[in-house]
Structure formats: C-alpha cells, structure tokens
C-alpha cells in the first residue's frame, strides 16, 4: 500500500515539474472587452419574466404530451375495434353440427342473435342483454328447458346416507 502511495506521489511530483500556461494579458484585454460589449448590448433580463416563460413552455409541453397521448389512444382504439369487429363478424361454429348438449335450443337461439352491434355501443349492449334475457325466459317457460325428472319421482340427492358400520362397534 505504501509502495503504491509512493508511486502515486512520484507521479504527482513528476506532473508538478510542469505547469499550465496562464491566460496572457492580451487575451484578458480581448475577452473582457468582448464581454463588456456583450454586457452593453444585452440588457438585464427582467427576472419576473422567467417564471412566465417557464410556465408557457411547460404548458406547451403539456399540450403536446396530451395530444400525443390522445393520438396514440385513438390509433390503438381504432386498431383494436377493427380487430374486435372482425372477431364479431366471424360466425361461430355451426351449432347444428355440435354434439348434443343441454339447453341446445338456447344455444341455437344465442347463435341466432346479432352479436355485432354491441361491440362499441352501450345501448346496443343493453338491447342485446335484454334479448338474451327474453330468450332465456321463453326457454324456461317451455318444456325443453326443464331438466328431466329423476326416475320414480324421487330426488337423486340422498340427504342422510346410511353410515357404514364402524369397526369400533364390534370391539
């Protein structure tokens, strides 16, 4: 460590054998003359204008950022909605070819409903939900929607199943 310090000191001593040149007097005269000229040409800027200028620049920057955000948002929404519309336009798989499923009539009814209109429109969505509700109500009233009754008119749910005999009882 001390060897390193000695080397460092040696480098510093070596560097100190040279010196930097100072600005010559003619340079001083030239520069101060130019600076004085600039001083007289540029009057003192009023300090109260600075916050106003900063405010104006900040406002301009804020407007620009908001515009940029709106533009980006519109662009992305346009892309998204076109994709969503495309998806909505795609017909689902043919429900007729689907294997038998419960409430198939309701499923067919659903497939028959217009699903395109409510993608972007809230009132259309309400209308669509109302249609769904109505279709469901109709189906509930019809016989098809009723689940098949269990055989023998009894419930399949066994409320109190008989307990298995415990081995402990025999002991």
């Amino acid at each position: 460590m001390s060897e390193k310090n000695a080397e460092k000191r040696g480098i510093e001593d070596l560097l100190r054998k040279a010196r930097l040149s100072e600005p010559p007097p003619d340079v001083k005269q030239r520069i101060t003359a130019v600076a004085r000229k600039a001083w007289n040409q540029a009057p003192l800027e009023l300090s109260w204008t600075i916050p106003f200028r900063r405010l104006a620049v900040s406002a301009a920057a804020a407007v620009f950022i908001i515009w940029l955000a709106n533009y980006g948002s519109d662009y992305m929404l346009a892309r998204w909605s076109s994709g969503a519309m495309r998806l909505a336009n795609q017909q689902p798989t043919n429900v007729e070819t689907l294997p038998e499923m419960p409430y198939s009539l309701f499923a067919r009814r659903l497939a028959g409903l217009d699903r395109r209109s409510f993608v972007l429109d809230a009132s259309a969505l309400n209308k669509h939900i109302e249609l769904l509700r109505r279709a469901l109500a109709e189906l509930l009233q019809s016989d098809v929607a009723k689940p098949p009754a269990p055989a023998g008119g009894r419930s399949r749910v066994i409320l109190n199943p008989p307990r298995a005999k415990s081995c402990v009882q025999n002991v």
Partner: protein, 187 residues
Amino acid sequence: MDRPEDNILDENLAKKKLQAVLAGDDPAAVELLWDYYAGDLFAYLQAVLRSRHDAEDVLQTVFVRIVGKRHRLANARCLDAYVFRIARNEAVRFASRRKKGRTVEVKSESWLMAKESQAEPSDLAEQLQVALARLPRRQREVIVMKVYRQKTFSDIARLLGLSVNTVASRYRYGIEKLRTLLRDITP
C-alpha cells in the same frame, strides 16, 4: 493568476460581492469575474480541449455566455458550479464541432509548460502533455485541477457537480494510467 482571497470566508464574501455586482447590472462585474474565474477556467478548458488557442477561444465564448446569463448567476445558489457548467458545455460543444468539421485537428501545441527552474524543460513537459492527452477527458480534468490548480477533491466535486468519491476515483484511475504511460521516466 491566484485568487484574490485565501480562505473560505473571504471566498464567500467575494462571491457575495460578485453576485451583488451582477444583480446591480454593473459592467465592472466583468473584471471581477475575470479575476475570480479566469485562471481556473483557462486551466479547465486546456485540460478538456488539449489546446491553448482553443481554450482561449472557448474562454471568450464562456465569458460572453456568462454575461448573457448574469441575471441567473446573480441568483445562483452555487455560482462556481454554474460557471463551470457553462464552461463544460461550451468546451464539449466546441470539441464536437471540431471533431465533426475535421477542419482543425488537435495540434501538438504546448499547453503544458516546463517550470522555469527545470533544467530539462521541454522534453519532460512534452512527455507529460502527451501522457495527459491520452487519458480520458474526465480523468484528465480532475488531475489537472488537482495538480495544477491545487484544488481539493471537494472543491473539484463542487465545481464539476460530482460527488467527492467520483472525483477521487477518477483521480486514482487517472494516476494509475499515468503511471503506466510514464513508466520509463518515473524514478
């Protein structure tokens, strides 16, 4: 040129006076600015640009810029850092313009001089100058300010807007590199 003040108290007083003169829009502030900053700025600019003539040109630009921003300097919390920031920006701008234009290559002019008392003046100064020129700018500016302007690490940190640790590590790395570069002439 040495600073007119020797201690921190006097320095603070001088700065207050300078800021008062700047706020009063008195052109006499130019002289005060010169007395206070010219030596350090000139050394710093030579370290950054590695050219005395370029340093003189940029020093002029820096003074004009300072005069243009005198209202801000008058209210600046850290006057030294503000002035050196202006100098650094101007020097970097000048260097990039020089690099882009490639009109004037960095000439091998001597910005480092041998001390009058040295017996073998020019050779050593030349070698030191070449070695310093091969250092990265950030290390070179710290070494120049420390060795040739007798600044402390905290002074340099304040002037350049860096932490003391950063300045110290730059100095250490710079000295390490110089040790390698100057291996032949170190005792």
